[in-house]
């Protein structure tokens, strides 16, 4: 349903994937975000400073209300910071969105029930005006990447929750953005499926060399996946600790029993406890 002008307009705005060669992919300085609610202002983000480099896997962990989802949404230009500076790929978040800088994965898979799996994956491609052949090719590629070959013609309800979430990751990967923003993508899944998907996500990250920002409630998940772990605490939402993981990039599941892993997990737990101490 796109007119030719719309497609051209879109390409003019966003065809050049500008990635500064060196600088951080995501750069937050003195970021503040205050929601005005009926109960008065809520300080969702307070003086957030964070630089994420290309190829990093960064997890945001903290209790509800610590602003981790708000920070992710601000990066995605779904929320507007009230103060401070936020750059994504060297642009404002809004410009980054228009240049297709990131794919976003929500907690609920949010697949359209009236579209097949392949058609769901093609949704962003249709909106961005890719031609039919390119849509087919990319959909097949990303579905292979998340191990969903053979499910192209199935409807979402015919798939398990874990498979649906994989399909939604494929959808976020389809237009080949450099950044993947994931908001508790496995939060609603059971432990066994979650372990499996964590393993797959790591492989996918290694193969695609994306920069991933990942929000989670789970300490083992954060430590297992991340190169950096950002610990946050609420009221006001702020960063209390940033941990560079000493774990190697190659991570079998049983790395979670090693002393190094447990040491990082312990530090995260301490950080979370410290953030909670005053309430």
């Amino acid at each position: 349903m796109l007119s030719a002008e719309e497609i051209d307009g879109f390409r003019d705005e966003g065809a050049s994937p500008v990635t500064p060669p060196d600088g951080p992919v995501i750069d937050a300085r003195g970021l503040e975000l205050v929601f005005q609610t009926n109960d008065g202002p809520v300080h969702a983000l307070n003086d957030v400073n964070l630089q994420i480099s290309k190829g990093d896997f960064v997890s945001f962990i903290g209790p509800s209300g610590c602003g981790k989802t708000t920070l992710l949404r601000a990066i995605a230009a779904l929320e507007t910071p009230t103060d401070g500076q936020l750059m994504v790929n060297g642009m404002t978040p809004d410009a980054a969105r228009r240049s297709r800088a990131y794919g976003y994965v929500f907690q609920a898979a949010g697949l359209y029930p009236w579209r097949t799996i392949a058609a769901n994956v093609k949704l962003p491609l249709e909106i961005m005006g890719f031609d039919k052949a390119e849509q087919e090719r990319r959909a097949a590629d990303v579905l292979r990447l998340v191990d969903l070959e053979g499910f192209e013609r199935k409807y979402p309800w015919q798939l398990s929750g874990g498979m649906q979430q994989r399909a939604s990751i494929a959808r976020a990967l389809a237009f080949d953005a450099d950044i993947l923003l994931m908001d508790e993508p496995f939060g609603a899944l059971d432990e066994i499926v979650r372990d499996h998907l964590n393993e797959q996500l790591l492989k996918l990250w290694e193969r695609t060399e994306k920069t991933i920002a990942f929000v989670t409630h789970s300490i083992p998940e954060a430590v297992y996946l991340s190169t950096r772990i950002v610990v946050m605490s609420p009221r006001p939402g702020r960063i209390t600790d940033v941990i560079d993981s000493p774990l190697p990039r190659e991570r079998p599941l049983d790395i979670r029993d090693t002393p190094e892993f447990l040491a990082v997990a312990h530090r995260v737990r301490e950080g979370l406890r410290a953030g909670h101490a005053y309430d």
Binding site: G103, Q107, G110, Y112, P113, R115, P124, I127, M128, Y155
Partner: protein, 288 residues
């Protein structure tokens, strides 16, 4: 399916039993009056037999209505003014035209209401207010006003019919267009989708299950509107005219057969929409 036959037949049998009982009870008085006037007495069995076959009973017995229905559908040419099929068709054509107008208008209004805050605040209260006016009060005015500007026949009836059917479509469609949750709208925002893309790819498909439910209510309302629209036209033609003519001349059998004809028509129309709904939703992958 077989499990359903028993209960369905039981309900039908119960309705017929109550109907027959009520016919005896309501018609017996007339039988006794006639007997008293003639100076004779009637036995119980004579009363029972007479209440089943009066010319103008207060409540016709089911078989009288069935015979009338048979005679006015199967045994009359469909072009005859005494054919219920002829009158049914006249009402049906007004119903369908009104339904089309009402549905189209309803969908347009819903799209406007969802996309414009001003329309939401200005149109919706009027839509609601329009339905609080009794249709019987406004129908004659619509007929008279349109007649005075030279519009008569099918269109005024269709407009009354549309007046009743647009409302459920507006309400259902607005609800359906607003049914996508925040996450789904946010997802499209991350793709930088335009409002038109959001509408065609998300809001419209998401609204269809709601729309079909509204259409079922709407088509039944359309039929009622068309029948009501036939009442002030002086009982020329249509199911409404049959009802009115029947009441002028005390032809209760005719009234009841027209009522049942209207009910059957409504059932068929709603069933037809149900069929379209099933086929459409299955093809969309929404039916399991």
């Amino acid at each position: 399916m077989r499990d359903h036959v028993g209960p369905v037949l039981t309900v039908i049998a119960a309705i017929l039993a109550v109907w027959y009982g009520a016919a005896v009870w309501m018609n017996a008085a007339w039988t006794q009056q006639q007997a008293a006037r003639a100076g004779t007495t009637v036995s119980l069995s004579e009363i029972l037999a007479d209440t089943m076959q009066q010319d103008r009973p207060r409540l016709p017995a089911p078989h009288q209505v069935a015979v009338e229905l048979w005679e006015t559908t199967a045994e009359k040419k469909v072009t005859s003014k005494r054919s219920l099929v002829y009158h049914g068709w006249i009402t049906l054509s007004a119903t369908l035209l009104g339904f089309a107008i009402g549905t189209g208008l309803g969908m347009l209004l819903a799209v406007g209401i969802v996309h414009s805050r001003a329309m939401d605040m200005s149109v919706m209260p009027w839509a609601i207010a329009s339905q609080t006016i009794p249709i019987l009060a406004i129908a004659p005015m619509i007929i008279v006003v349109l007649n005075s500007v030279g519009v008569s026949g099918l269109l005024p009836k269709a407009i009354i019919s549309a007046y009743l059917s647009f409302f459920p479509v507006v309400v259902g469609m607005v609800k359906g267009l607003r049914s996508p949750d925040v996450a789904q709208l946010d997802l499209l925002r991350t793709y930088n989708a335009s409002r038109a893309q959001m509408f065609w790819r998300l809001r419209l498909p998401a609204s269809l299950p709601y729309l079909f439910t509204s259409l079922k209510v709407g088509i039944a309302a359309s039929l009622v509107g068309a029948i009501v629209g036939e009442l002030p036209t002086g009982a020329v033609a249509g199911l409404g005219a049959r009802l009115l003519a029947g009441s002028y001349y005390g032809q209760t059998v005719q009234i009841w057969s027209a009522l049942i004809g209207a009910a059957v028509l409504a059932g068929l129309l709603v069933g037809l929409i149900g069929l379209v709904q099933r086929v459409t939703l299955r093809r969309m992958g929404l039916a399991r």
